[in-house]
């Protein structure tokens, strides 16, 4: 269990370092950087490389935004296996809903109860 904590810290930290290099060296905007990382996550799952990373690093792989791409591909592939090619469209949000739903719901609640501090 302790090992998992360690690797979650290290792998999560390293993915963030990649992001920081995209900010500071490639001079990309946050929007560009996050979009790129999500695409990378999707491609890695397509190549079968992301799931092993999740098994190894736990939250270190599921918390960074790259896992979004991974979940979307996963959901799509699962449904495609079951229902054929149309599953690529129908399956995507099966596995990923929590992140986006949470952001929308908490965003709205946030707007109801908070005022920006500037």
């Amino acid at each position: 269990m302790l090992a998992m904590f360690f690797w979650a810290f290290v792998v999560g930290g390293l993915i963030c370092v990649v992001g920081q290099l995209l900010f500071d060296v490639a001079k990309l905007t946050p929007g560009h950087t996050m979009s790129l990382l999500v695409v990378i996550g999707a491609v890695l799952d397509g190549l079968g490389l992301y799931e092993p990373l999740v098994d190894f690093a736990g939250a270190g792989a599921t918390i960074p935004i790259t896992s979004f791409g991974n979940s979307l591909v996963h959901g799509a592939l699962q449904d495609a296996q079951a229902h054929g090619i149309i599953g690529v469209l129908t399956g995507m949000f099966q596995v990923t809903s929590s992140g986006i739903s949470a952001a929308i719901i908490f965003g709205f609640i946030g707007a109801l109860i908070f005022k920006p501090k500037g």
Binding site: V17, V18, G19, D24, A42, I65, L77, G107, F108, I113
Partner: protein, 158 residues
């Protein structure tokens, strides 16, 4: 970027070389260390949250991702709402932007900010200002990747 270089006059190029001497350089190494530490810490917290759900709510390692992510976004709502996340962000850069908490912060901060324009046009119309591209490219790239893989499997290549 390349096309911009072509259109620059010699005068502009000379100036840009001069200006770069005075430009305060970004402390890349320092930023990377801070990003590593904060990003790692956020993932560490996520791991703790996962174990909490596994032991107390009978989630498995396979499906604990969902409540974990939702909980992390909830935390980012609190930090954003209390005016703390922007300070963390200035310190940690990608360390707080790359984890899913950064995604939550981008949606929530936009929602909170645009409340002054009303809930429908302000909050609803502006919430995805920053996160929209992540959702767009995430979904589209997943579509392409999954399509390619499925076709390759169907044709017996994989």
């Amino acid at each position: 970027m390349a096309s911009k270089q072509k259109k620059m006059t010699p005068q502009q190029k000379n100036y840009q070389t001069l200006q770069q001497k005075h430009e305060l350089k970004r402390p890349v190494l320092k930023n990377c260390i801070k990003a590593f530490l904060v990003g790692g810490l956020i993932c560490l917290i996520g791991q703790a949250v996962s174990y909490f759900y596994i032991y107390y709510f009978n989630f498995t390692e396979q499906n604990v991702g969902n409540p974990t992510v939702a909980t992390m976004v909830f935390f980012s709502m609190l930090l954003t709402g209390f005016g703390v996340y922007d300070h963390i962000g200035q310190f940690a850069g990608a360390g707080s932007a790359v984890p899913v908490t950064g995604f939550g912060n981008s949606v929530i901060s936009a929602a909170i900010e645009h409340r002054t324009e009303g809930f429908v046009l302000g909050v609803g119309g502006n919430m995805f200002k920053l996160a929209g591209s992540v959702i767009l490219f995430g979904v589209f790239s997943a579509f392409v990747v999954a399509l390619i893989k499925t076709l390759l499997v169907m044709w017996g290549v994989l």
